[in-house]
Amino acid sequence: MPADWLSPADWQAVRLSLKVAFWAVLCSLPLGILTAHALARWRFPGRGLLNMLVHLPLILPPVVTGYLLLLTFGRQGAVGAWLEQVGIVLAFRWTGAALAAAIMAFPLMVRAMRLSIEAVDPRLEQAAATLGARPAWVFLTVTLPLILPGILAGAVLDFAKAIGEFGATITFLSNIPGQTQTLPSAIYTRLQVPGAEAQAGRLVLVAIALSVGALILSEWLSRAAARRVAP
């Protein structure tokens, strides 16, 4: 494969997408585990509401999510203005793309993790408690190791979804090469230019390869999770 199979601009879009997805996964992982655990194990008022909120990005038109992000995290937005004062700018930066990707992929990650947590026998956690483990230790030494493959599966799925995020990103952050032009935005741009179909096609192949690879890995990890939990 020649080195110029992808143009430097295309490579930039692929690298940016990988960077955005990586940080989106890394930052949402702890919150995802916590949310999945809360939804699977705890009974508290507002549980239904939390469940709905988590799933909202899956249901809403991505444009709406992007617009809401713009309203909230834009430079004039309630949170955005405050963040700018402490030196964090999200609008029209790759960090904003990571936020958008994290939020859009969050429901997928939480669903995968929640399923694996629900598969863990709570009686094992009870046994750990009678052996002297306080709840945080029960989680770290029993629950977490048992759901680790499930968490990885959720993270891989999250990563794939984050790479593909388009609607919310382009609404929230526009389409700036090197800052917010991720892989899907780049494909979209190439398709608007006459004669760039071949270029777009190569990016499409990259996108397909990444997605299918992630799906296979996620599936394999889920099976490993099931094997591990079965006594």
Binding site: D121, R123, L124, Q126, A127, A128, A129, T130, L131, G132, A133, R134, P135, W137, V138, T141, V142, P145, L146, R228, V229, A230, P231
Partner: protein, 350 residues
């Protein structure tokens, strides 16, 4: 060390109300399913919060509704062995055993080597729980609970899920454990045989209440249908009914007969008198000799055969072996059937 429990707990359709103390040694909780046995030990472990009451181990208050004390399970130092061993599938046997020890911190108590030796699990240490048999898994669970340095051991029917050979494999280990420790051990079971093998005290529960407490032979029901079957042949005699000759002597039955009979003398129809009884109307008194005692029953040599009788509640009252006593039959024997019988030796169907 001892355990004292006084709790009240109610659900719709069921209530538990007990006030008991368990001395060191094995205290068996005996009763049918739903009598409240598991509820009681779950309350001791802190897995269930009773409505009212107090629970203390060795003077250490685990739960006191009046003073608002309710220690969480991980601070109760209670060794709980569940019916399903509940070993951690992602840890090796060795890691399972040491799990609780890590939280118990430094201090005395048995070592891993001692426990592995006591329970015969040393060859299993590097295995995964999935590769253990039911009996092995239960022994590992027992060792894991012991190594957490508990103040009390709770055994929630640890043998109930095992078949007879596996039970027989574990019982000697439980006996060795009982004799090697001064922990109070609460042992939930509905198997009288298992309890007789292990327990020093029995609490008999029924519908959430303690209906009896004492040594196993005093509290456990007699083995069902304990008694002997005798062959009898009719003989002449006065009055209604029928006199018969048996290996135990001349007896009377209610029905007329012309040919051989089989009779049943249940253990709870036979009393033992150490002095010649007098003035008992309607009872048959036979000279007898003490043979021995087992499972809450006395075995008596009567005539050329044996009869079974209920043992006295206080073992001190039990006549010495080979002493002369009197077997008092409180009722006429039951006629089983009038056809030929194959044996006149004592049988005990339990």
């Amino acid at each position: 060390m001892s355990l004292s429990v006084r709790i009240d707990h109610a659900w719709p359709g069921f209530s538990l109300s007990v006030d008991v103390t368990a001395p060191p040694g094995v205290t068996a909780l005996f009763g049918a399913s739903g009598a409240g046995k598991t509820t009681l030990i779950r309350a001791v472990a802190g897995l269930l919060r009773p409505d009212r009451g107090r629970i203390a181990v060795d003077g250490r208050m685990l739960f006191d509704s009046d003073r608002g004390v309710n220690l969480p399970p991980h601070r109760r130092r209670v060794g709980y062995v569940f019916q399903d061993a509940r070993l951690f599938p992602h840890l090796s046997v060795r890691q399972n055993l040491l799990y609780g020890r890590w939280f118990a911190g430094a201090g005395g108590g048995p070592t891993l080597a001692q426990i592995a030796d006591l329970l015969g699990i040393a060859p299993l240490l590097e295995r995964r729980p999935a590769a253990l048999s039911g009996g092995e898994a239960q022994r590992v669970a027992l060792g894991r609970a012991l190594l957490a340095r508990p103040g009390i051991l709770l055994l929630d029917e640890p043998l109930a899920a095992l078949d007879q050979p596996r039970k027989a494999e574990i019982l000697p280990y439980l006996r060795a454990l009982r004799d090697a420790t001064d922990l109070p051990i609460l042992h939930v079971s509905h198997d009288p045989q298992e309890i007789r093998t292990l327990a020093t005290t029995v609490l008999r529960l029924e519908a959430g209440r303690v209906i009896a407490q004492g040594p196993p032979d005093a509290v456990l029901p007699l083995p069902q249908n304990a008694g002997v079957t005798l062959r009898a042949t009719p003989r002449d005699g006065p009055g209604p009914g029928q006199w018969v000759d048996t290996a135990a002597g001349v007896l009377h039955v209610a029905t007329r007969a012309t040919g051989p009979l089989r009779l049943r003398i249940a253990a709870d129809q036979v009393m033992v008198a150490t002095a010649p009884p007098a003035g008992l109307l309607g009872a048959t008194i036979l000279p007898a000799r003490m043979v021995g005692q087992a499972d809450g029953l006395l075995r008596l040599a009567v005539g050329t055969t044996h009869l079974l009788a209920r043992a006295p509640l206080d073992p001190a009252l039990c006549p010495p072996a080979d002493s002369a006593v009197h077997a008092v039959l409180l009722r006429d024997p039951t006629v089983l059937d009038a056809i030929g019988c194959t044996t006149d030796s004592p049988s005990q169907n339990d």
